[in-house]
Symmetry: C2
Subunit: 273 residues, 2 copies
DNA sequence: ACCTGAACACCGTTCAAGT
DNA sequence: ACCTGAACACCGTTCAAGT
């Protein structure tokens, strides 16, 4: 009975039953302990949730581009013990990209990893709020993203803007996706069934059918591989948009010279090389 | 005592005290009524929250590009009665754009309006989940966005991808922004104070200071107008990224011809002109 | 048709008390 | 140092009963 075991049980319960059903009393029962003994290790429910959030953030750092990731195990691609124990050896590797690869490849890898983490743990996104000051693992992930953006050719000020854009976009995508997945599950339907129903209710509006065709036409389109495939393509397309936008901005930047508007002294691109 | 009055009181309470403090009992007290009489008009708390969500979605439709917006008042730019009554004459007009303007201008207007609505009502974003099947006002807004995207020169399939991208990105931006604003308020700090504190805790990590300078350097940078100004610029920059990405994709599309990969028969761009 | 009171099965958290 | 029981002030929702 220590903080790690409590955090692991919290993550497992949150994964299985969702944020709204999680309670201190439910957790205590799971740990075969009275309701209030958890409070010896944790000040408040919110503190515990922050610990759980930090634990799943660590999933994004298994194996790494640079050694700046987590305090323990500087280089070896070993997943944190508590996470493996809780989720049952789901070792996500999508946030890992070849160290010297093109920034586009690495950006896609980081974004995909972040997104899939949010989908794996739908309870995490409402807890993330601002990506400021929420644990060392989140900061380490942010560092990796910044390292990638340094190679885009954008000015430092543009890099900061792009950092924010990528973070928030992936957050939005993963959060909505997570909501949808959970809603399907709680309705006892497959994602395709739920999507078909939703389309059905939208087909009551005639302009919708005019734009996209009837439900049967959408599902019958050749190459339509279901909602999950659709979402995969939407995400890929959105990343294409971002990458194309970054390339355009980087072109502008190099045409006008390396200096941005916002940044002050201490150009990090120059300092790092 | 009817559904409209209940919905209006709900929106007002949610705005003032937040989603977590809202309860049926609290609402009943506000309406000077016993706890359970609300259940005569509303089946469940979740149903009521959906009503509230639909009510604030209507803010995005005041005044419009086309007459496809809300059932009442087809064209006149009049805000819905219940919203005006509840928020005290905050009549947002940001989602309105000149009808025949460039798609870039109209896209920015729609995105800004959506974002500011989310910030005005931070409780709305956790409720939005998927943008599918949540009320007629949301669908009408989606229609307007589609109408704008038709003018980008993208293929219909690309338009669908961009629709998803814009929606989810703005959602992510507004949600995180709303979280931050609320967190500052509940900590009793101004946004700049909170931001300074957060930077201070991040300055404990040396690579952060190496990249961006110390807190004093960041706040002292000429042209730094505080967090809110920073966020404004981040949002504008992110929209620039999206617009540039859309332009790049549209260029590809017109170079390869109008047909996309995903769409079936019934090309809406051709049908609408 | 509309509202109420009492009740049920929950919450997070405190606090004095046990070992 | 670690855990417990009882208690406080809350929840959403049901249901029989009032007018």
């Amino acid at each position: 009975m220590d903080r790690e075991r409590i955090t692991a049980a919290t993550v497992r319960l949150l994964d299985e039953e969702g944020l709204s059903k999680f309670s201190m009393r439910r957790l205590a029962a799971e740990l075969d302990v009275t309701a209030m003994s958890v409070y010896w290790y944790v000040d408040t429910k919110d503190d515990l949730l922050e610990l759980a959030l930090d634990a799943v953030m660590a999933e994004l750092l298994t194996g790494g581009t640079e050694a700046e990731a987590a305090p323990p195990e500087p280089a070896a691609p070993v997943a944190p013990a508590e996470t493996v124990a809780s989720t049952g050896a789901v070792a996500p590797t999508e946030a890992v990209a070849p160290a010297g690869a093109d920034w586009r490849v690495r950006l896609r890898a980081l974004a995909s990893g972040y997104r899939s983490m949010i989908v794996r743990h739908p309870w995490a996104s409402p807890l993330m709020g601002s990506f400021l000051n929420i644990g060392p693992h989140s900061q380490a992930f942010s560092c990796r993203l910044r390292a990638v953006l340094r190679d885009t050719g954008m000015s430092p000020a543009q890099q900061l803007g792009a950092l924010s854009a990528v973070f928030r976009f992936v957050y939005g995508f993963g959060t909505i996706e997570g909501h949808f997945v959970r809603r399907c599950a709680s309705a006892g339907m497959s994602q395709d069934e739920y999507y078909r129903d939703a389309l059905g209710s939208m087909s009551e509006r005639p302009e919708f059918v005019e734009s996209f065709g009837s439900t049967e036409e959408i599902f019958g389109t050749q190459g339509f591989g279901g909602v999950e495939d659709l979402r995969e393509r939407d995400f890929a397309f959105a990343l294409d948009l971002l990458v194309a936008g970054i390339e355009a901005q980087a072109g502008k930047a190099s045409a006008r010279g390396p200096a941005g508007e916002r940044t002050a002294d201490g150009d990090p691109a120059a300092a790092r090389g």
